[in-house]
Each structure stands twice: as structure tokens, then as C-alpha cells.
């Protein structure tokens, strides 16, 4: 999956890829203070060719708000809301919304869902539908954080560690190794990293084509930009 993080008061963005194994579950957000967790499960292509790089995507998300006693599992097929002992399953084929006091989930059929949990968090999960008979690709999901201002400073995870504004200094912009792409040096979290100018897509408003988001790409699975290494974020279960 591609990660895109805004920096410097939203004036620029950093992007990086995480290459994991299909089936691996990565922690995206953990806030021990609000007892809130988001994990995502990776899926691969339908066929995996030997000696070729494995592209992975998120196929399932698990979102837990223990204080509200709510768990939401979002896959490319269904959206399941667990509330206490109750369980409600929505298909992606329906436009629906479910509200209870400060918790709400709103689904726009075959496109996206917005999840609001009190004042703490608002997320959008985008569904990417792929032609059913495509030999390689399969449906996958995107996860967007719209509001996280009430999360505690202890929030961590592949996305959560960036919920509090980080500043990065980018300088020494010069023609890069890839033709037509600029390279630069970025100083962030005390590391000096080589980054390459590129684009990633934001699919919230145009689910088919997306809109381009210019960003500085951090190589080697975001090494130096993320705390630790990607394997540090592997967890054993979705919830």
C-alpha cells in the first residue's frame, strides 16, 4: 500500500510504500489513551509470479473503539458493525447509515463509508472495485483520516504516529536518478533522507481516476520516516 502524509501544515506531503506479505495485519493507529485501534490486513494479486515483486493492498480493516464498545470490520465485501453483543452486517451494495449518539457510520453504495466516533475520529474508507474477471487484480480498500485532533500524543501506528503535525525540512532539490523526477534531501525525525518527487492519488472525490497529490517519496518502506521498521507494526489479529 501507498501511504501519504501531509507535512508542514499541509503545505506538502510525504509518501512511502510498505511492502508486506499477503495476509499480514498491520497496525495503522493505536491510541492507548482513548483505547482506539485501527488495523489493516494485506491482500495480494490473484496470482503471484515467482521472482516478481508482490504488490499488496489493504483488503480488510478492523477498527476498535473499546470505550464505545464498538468494533467495525470493513472488507471489500461487507461492513460489519459489532456493538456490544449485537452484530449488523451491511453489504457494499447499499446506501445506508447507522447512528447511535456520537457514533455513526454512513455508507455510499459501492463507493465509500464515513465512520465518525465521537469527537475523536472521522475516517473515510474507499472501496476500489476491480473488474471481477481481471486475471490479476482484485478489489481493495483505502483508508483516509479526516479528523484526528482529539487523539492523544501517545497515538502510534503506521498512520497514527503522524497524527500530530510533523515538520520536515526539504532542500537540495536536484534532478534525480529517475528521468524527469527530482530528488531532494529531507531532514525529519533527526534523519537525513533522500526523497524523490512524485504523485499519489486521493480517491475520496473521484473514485475512478482520483486526484493527484504531489509528494516526496521516501524509499525503502519509508525507512527513517516511520518509527522503526514495517515488521514492528505487524499484529496478530484484526481486532
Amino acid at each position: 500500500p501507498h501511504f501519504v502524509i501531509s507535512i508542514n501544515d499541509h503545505s506538502d506531503a510525504i509518501c512511502f510504500n510498505i511492502d508486506g506479505k499477503p495476509g499480514a495485519i498491520l497496525n495503522l493507529v493505536t491510541d492507548p489513551y482513548t483505547d482506539f485501534v485501527v488495523n489493516g490486513e494485506l491482500i495480494g494479486e490473484k496470482k503471484i509470479e515467482i521472482n516478481k515483486k508482490i504488490n499488496t493492498y489493504f483488503g480488510k480493516f478492523g477498527i476498535v473503539n473499546n470505550k464505545m464498545d464498538v468494533k467495525v470490520e470493513v472488507s471489500t465485501k461487507t461492513i460489519t458493525v459489532f456493538h456490544g453483543e449485537d452484530k449488523i452486517v451491511f453489504p457494499w451494495s447499499a446506501t445506508a447509515s447507522l447512528t447511535k449518539e456520537s457514533f455513526s457510520i454512513s455508507i455510499i453504495k459501492e463507493r465509500n463509508l464515513t465512520l465518525t466516533m465521537g469527537d475523536d475520529a472521522t475516517f473515510v474508507i474507499v472501496l476500489h472495485r476491480v473488474w471481477k474477471n481481471h486475471p490479476l487484480h482484485r478489489d481493495f480498500l483505502g483508508f483516509y483520516t479526516l479528523d484526528s485532533h482529539r487523539f492523544s500524543s501517545m497515538t502510534h501506528g503506521l498512520l497514527g504516529q503522524f497524527y500530530h503535525e510533523i515538520s520536515a525540512e526539504i532542500y537540495n532539490i536536484h534532478p534525480g536518478l529517475d528521468e524527469g523526477k527530482s530528488d531532494a534531501t529531507m531532514i525529519v525525525k533527526g534523519h537525513k533522507l533522500r526523497v524523490t518527487r512524485g504523485y499519489q492519488k486521493d480517491y475520496r472525490f473521484d473514485p475512478k481516476r482520483g486526484t493527484n497529490v504531489p509528494c516526496w517519496f521516501v524509499h525503502y518502506n519509508g525507512k527513517g520516516f516511520i518509527d522503526g521498521s514495517p515488521t514492528d507494526y505487524v499484529v496478530s489479529s484484526l481486532f
Partner: protein, 621 residues
């Protein structure tokens, strides 16, 4: 049927063809029964056409063709038809219709004289909106030809754009080796069940003329469903919206069982009630609450309270249920009011879950004869005490029950009434009814459509939605330029507020349905008319005089326009009878009529036993 004569092939009458053709689109079933009979004798013979059809169906057409002349039935206002019928009777002519009301089926019967070597073709059409019941739709066809039929065929075609989840058939009358002759095919949206036994396959034994075809041929199916606003179909300016969401958590319920143990319940009825209650208690969800009030001319609340259905409480209640025995008179008013007070108090004391369904299930076998015995007064008392907060379900046990009293009391309080037939399976009937209301999934369901674009909407607000059932709403599109129809559903689940939305492009949906060319094109309009009539008939039960008149006028108007034989209309068929025209009337029997008890017929030596009375008639309204 070809009547008594038909049992003997020597009689000369032969049913040479019988075809039952059923087409279902979006739960609306259009059934045609065509029977062809020839008289091979040298003299005139009387042929009977006798069909049992589901009570929920409306006859829409009947014709008989004799000597190339077709006599078609006309749907008329009941009074007009009655006058015509009375005239025929006063002239001493036979008006050959017998109808009777059974558990699920009602009978249509007509006879006609056929000259030597002549043929007659009977053709009956009836329509029905199949109701989802415990997670499935059922098409019931009663098969009972009185002799072997050369060309016998049942064809059921189902088209459900929503997708068919499963399709099964049940034909218990068929010996095991013959079930394989029922052919079933199923694709994503279409199902076909075909049954075409040869003469040899119909034979009960190799050398006899008795037929094995005697029983119910039942087709069961369900459509695919998920948690969505359901499906909307639009044809010729009418739409129908089916809503039956899946994957919801059940809502707890609070049930007060109000059980009649008056003297008339003694014996089998009491034993069966106890048996059913024990099973129902066993099946109760531990999140539910319950209380038991038993009554004769006095009433008693078990342990004076309402209890959660924990294993311990259920076990104790079962001990109590086993001790209930029959005695005394029948005072319905007091225990019903007691049940309401118990629910009121339990809610006030916050003993019951905040979001839950509260209901009173009354089981009685007779009329009130103690305490407040005026049925109207009891209905008023119960309605005013409940004030729209709880549902009342009334189960009328046996033949002596005044069904209309129970029906009104239920409908006044958002419930339904049901007859429980005094039979060996009465406990199963009671339990089956309980299962229908056992699992509430949604509360306060409101279905919204664009106000300015639609009219003539059927009921669109419902107090509850129960697992296994289905909500159907239909209406007319009044905006000719409407491009898309948005249906929104607002409801409460066990814990949250739920909103579901469906948007359909009018042109797209119309095209799809029209391309199917599967069933008569105006089925959505007829479905709408059927549903409107059914709901108005229900509303009429509890309406005041003025409103009742308006409802009656509207039902009549729709029944005549769409040619439905409803409780307010009759079908008149003029038939040829030995050079004079005679007519008969087909009515729809109502549930309030006394259920005919199977009576044995005796003939005494030396006495001529009349096989067929000149006419039998039961009024239905």
C-alpha cells in the same frame, strides 16, 4: 373433479387434460387452472369443477367453454350479484356453487351439464401476493383430480429480479419413486418447477384406476437479501418496494401471555395450550421478558410480575404452566387490562430494556361471558389502555370463538388475529404463530418516497419488522418526468438508528422488467391494487361508521376495476342449463364464518341418500 360420476370411468365423463400454470414475478402469483372434460356417454352428464385455492388469493376470472361458446364470469358488487343469485334460486334453478372455508384454502366449485360426446373447458384464474413467512414464500397447489388424467401438468415459473436464494418443492402424496418426475431448474433469477406424471405414474396400483394425485404440492423459495433498502421495481407507472433486511440483531421483547383456562378449554384444548406454552417458554431468548396471566371468570398473574427469560425463571414458569387446568367462565376484559398495567409498571420501573417490543398474546376459545362481556366495550377499554404502545395478538382457539371480536381488538392495537384449529397439530399452530413474532429486528419503520412524485401509496409506516417476514409498499408514480425514484428507510435497530437508501433509475428499471416479458405487463399495478385492497379491508375492520363507508366504496371501486373477487364483490357466471340460462355466484368466504366441521354422512337402508343438495350457500360478509 368430475363429481361422484367421475369415480367410475364407466360413467362416461373423462378429464382428458388438466393444467395448472403458475407464474410468479416479484412475489405476485398469477395462477391459471385449465381443465378439459369430455362426455363419452350417450346421455347428458353433470361435470363438476372443484378447486381449492389459497385464502389469501383473489379470483380474477372464470370461464367455461361448451360447444365452442365461452361463458365468462363478471365481477359485480355483492348485492347486485346476490339479487341475481336469489332470482335464480327463487325460480327453482340450481345455482351450483359450493364454497367452504378451510385452514388455508377455500373452495370454488361449479357444475355444468354436458351433452353426449360434448366437451367442456373450465378455466379459473386467481392472483395472490405471496407473503414471506418464516423466511420463505410458499405456493400451495392442492392436487386432487378424481380420476386419472391423460394430460396432467403443473408448471410453476418464478422470476425474482432480486435473485432466488433457494427453491424447493414438497409433494408428500407422491411415493418416493415418483419424486424424481418433478423437474426443478434454477438460475440466478428464474426458477421452474414442472410436474407432468403419465397415466401409469398416476396409478395407485398397476391394474387400478385410483390416482396417487391427492395432496398438497407446495413450492417454497426465498430471494437473496442483505442489509439494504431492498428492491424497487417500476412497471407502467406503478412501483413496488420489497424490504426485508438481513443481518440485523434481534430486539428484545416483553411478552405477556394471557391464557384462557375457562371451562370450555377443558380436555384437549387445555392440554395442547400447556404443551405449546412449554415449548414457547423453552424457545424464549434469554434477553426477553415474559409474564403469564391466566383467566377464567377471575384472573391471576404468575408471581405477580414480569421476568427475564433466564433458564431459572423459565424452568419455574414451566412448573406453573403444567398446573394450569380448565374451570369457570370467561372474563377477557380484566386480564387484558391487567396485562397492560403490568407492562406500564414494568416500563415505569425501568425493568425492561429501553429499546424493546412489548406485546400481549391472548389465547382464548370463547366469547366473554363474565365481568365486562360487551365485546365493543372490551375493545374500547383495551385500545384506550394501550394507547398505541403495545401490540396485541389474539389467537382464537377452536370453533366457538367470535373471530371478528378478536380480529378488531388485534388490528386496533397493531397486531393480528389468528385462528387456531382444534386439531392434533394445535400446539404446532400456536408455536408457529409465536415464531412469527419471536424475533423483532426493527422498530418504527418509515419508508419515504419523493412526496410530489408519487401517489396512492400503500401503508408505509410499520411498528415492527420481524425476522422472516417482509415489508411491501407499492404506489403510483404521478410525475411523468420522474427520472429516478429514491426510497429511504428510517428505522431503529436494537441499539442504533438506521437509515437505508435506494435509488433506481425509472427508465432502467422499466426496461429491465419489460424485457423479461415474463408475466402480464401490468403486474405491478395489479400487485398495488391487491395490496391496497387487502390493507383497506383490514382497516375497515376497526373503522368508524363514516370512514367505513369511504373504505367500502374504495375497496369496491378497486375490486370492480381490477376484477378481484373480494369480500365485497362476487363473480357471476351465466351457464347454460338445458335450454335455459342459469347463473351462479362465486364469493370470498370470510374468516368470521364458522369453520365447517368435518361431518360424517350416513345413509340408512331403504332411504334414498341425496348425494348433492340443490345448492349450498354461505354468506361471507
Amino acid at each position: 373433479s368430475i363429481g361422484e360420476h367421475g369415480k367410475n370411468p364407466e360413467s362416461g365423463l373423462e378429464i382428458y387434460s388438466m393444467k395448472i400454470d403458475c407464474k410468479v414475478t416479484s412475489r405476485f402469483a398469477h395462477n391459471m387452472v385449465i381443465s378439459r372434460v369430455v362426455n363419452r356417454a350417450n346421455e347428458s352428464k353433470e361435470a363438476f369443477f372443484e378447486i381449492e385455492l389459497p385464502k389469501t388469493a383473489f379470483i380474477t376470472n372464470f370461464s367455461m367453454t361448451l360447444d365452442g361458446v365461452t361463458y365468462v364470469g363478471a365481477v359485480k358488487e355483492k348485492e347486485v350479484a346476490q339479487q341475481q343469485y336469489q332470482k335464480a334460486v327463487s325460480r327453482g334453478q340450481t345455482a351450483g356453487l359450493v364454497k367452504a372455508s378451510g385452514r388455508k384454502m377455500e373452495k370454488f366449485k361449479v357444475s355444468v351439464n354436458i351433452g353426449p360426446t360434448k366437451k367442456v373447458t373450465f378455466e379459473l384464474t386467481y392472483e395472490e401476493l405471496l407473503k414471506r413467512h418464516l423466511g420463505k414464500y410458499e405456493i400451495q397447489i392442492r392436487v386432487k383430480p378424481k380420476q386419472l388424467v391423460k394430460h396432467f401438468q403443473i408448471d410453476v415459473h418464478i422470476f425474482e429480479p432480486q435473485g432466488i436464494a433457494f427453491l424447493d418443492f414438497d409433494a408428500k402424496f407422491l411415493p418416493n419413486n415418483l419424486t424424481s418426475i418433478v423437474k426443478k431448474t434454477l438460475t440466478a433469477t428464474r426458477g421452474h418447477v414442472s410436474f407432468k406424471p403419465t397415466l401409469e405414474q398416476q396409478r395407485k396400483c398397476p391394474d387400478c384406476d385410483e390416482t396417487v394425485l391427492d395432496g398438497d404440492f407446495i413450492i417454497k423459495y426465498d430471494v437473496n437479501r442483505d442489509l439494504s433498502a431492498g428492491t424497487v421495481q417500476i412497471v407502467n407507472g406503478y412501483f413496488v418496494h420489497h424490504f426485508a433486511p438481513a443481518n440485523l440483531t434481534r430486539i428484545p421483547k416483553n411478552v405477556i401471555f394471557v391464557i384462557d383456562h375457562s371451562g370450555s378449554m377443558s380436555g384437549t384444548k387445555m392440554r395442547q395450550t400447556n404443551e405449546a406454552l412449554l415449548k414457547i417458554l423453552d424457545d424464549m431468548n434469554t434477553k426477553d421478558y415474559f409474564a403469564i396471566i391466566i383467566f377464567d371468570d377471575t384472573s391471576e398473574t404468575w408471581k405477580n410480575s414480569i421476568f427475564q427469560a433466564t433458564p431459572n425463571n423459565v424452568a419455574e414458569a414451566k412448573v406453573f404452566v403444567r398446573t394450569i387446568s380448565a374451570r369457570g367462565g370467561t372474563d377477557i376484559n380484566a386480564p387484558m387490562l391487567k396485562a397492560v398495567r403490568l407492562l406500564d409498571k414494568s416500563h415505569q420501573d425501568k425493568l425492561l430494556p429501553e429499546r424493546s417490543v412489548s406485546m400481549i398474546i391472548l389465547l382464548t376459545d370463547g366469547d366473554p361471558n363474565s365481568g365486562e362481556s360487551n365485546p365493543t366495550k372490551i375493545q374500547e377499554n383495551v385500545k384506550s389502555a394501550i394507547n398505541g404502545r403495545y401490540n396485541v395478538y389474539c389467537l382464537g382457539f377452536g370453533y366457538d370463538v367470535k373471530y371478528s371480536f378478536l380480529e378488531k381488538m388485534s388490528l386496533d392495537n397493531d397486531g393480528v388475529a389468528r385462528r387456531i384449529y382444534e386439531d392434533s397439530d394445535a400446539p404446532l399452530q400456536l408455536q408457529g404463530f409465536y415464531d412469527e413474532v419471536a424475533n423483532p429486528l426493527l422498530l418504527d419503520i418509515e419508508l419515504h418516497y419523493p412526496e410530489n412524485a408519487i401517489s396512492e401509496l400503500t401503508q408505509a409506516n410499520f411498528r415492527q419488522y420481524y425476522d422472516g417476514s417482509e415489508i411491501v409498499v407499492a404506489g403510483k408514480i404521478s410525475d411523468d418526468d420522474l427520472k429516478s425514484l429514491i426510497a429511504e428507510v428510517f428505522a431503529q435497530t436494537a441499539n442504533e438508528n438506521l437509515t437505508l437508501k435506494a435509488e433506481v433509475q425509472v427508465s432502467e428499471v422499466e426496461n429491465i422488467t419489460q424485457q423479461q416479458l415474463y408475466i402480464f405487463g401490468d403486474f405491478t399495478e395489479r400487485l398495488w391494487a391487491y395490496l391496497t385492497i387487502q390493507q383497506l379491508l383490514e382497516k375497515r375492520v376497526s373503522a368508524e361508521t363514516n370512514e367505513k363507508k369511504n373504505l367500502t366504496d374504495r375497496i369496491l371501486e378497486l375490486s370492480l376495476k381490477y376484477s378481484f373477487v373480494t369480500p365485497l364483490t362476487s363473480m357471476v357466471v351465466t351457464k347454460p342449463e338445458e335450454n335455459k340460462n342459469d347463473s351462479f355466484v362465486a364469493d370470498k368466504p370470510s374468516e368470521d364464518e364458522k369453520v365447517p366441521i368435518q361431518q360424517r354422512q350416513y345413509s340408512y337402508p331403504g332411504h334414498a341418500y341425496s348425494k348433492r343438495p340443490s345448492f349450498t350457500y354461505v354468506d361471507s360478509d
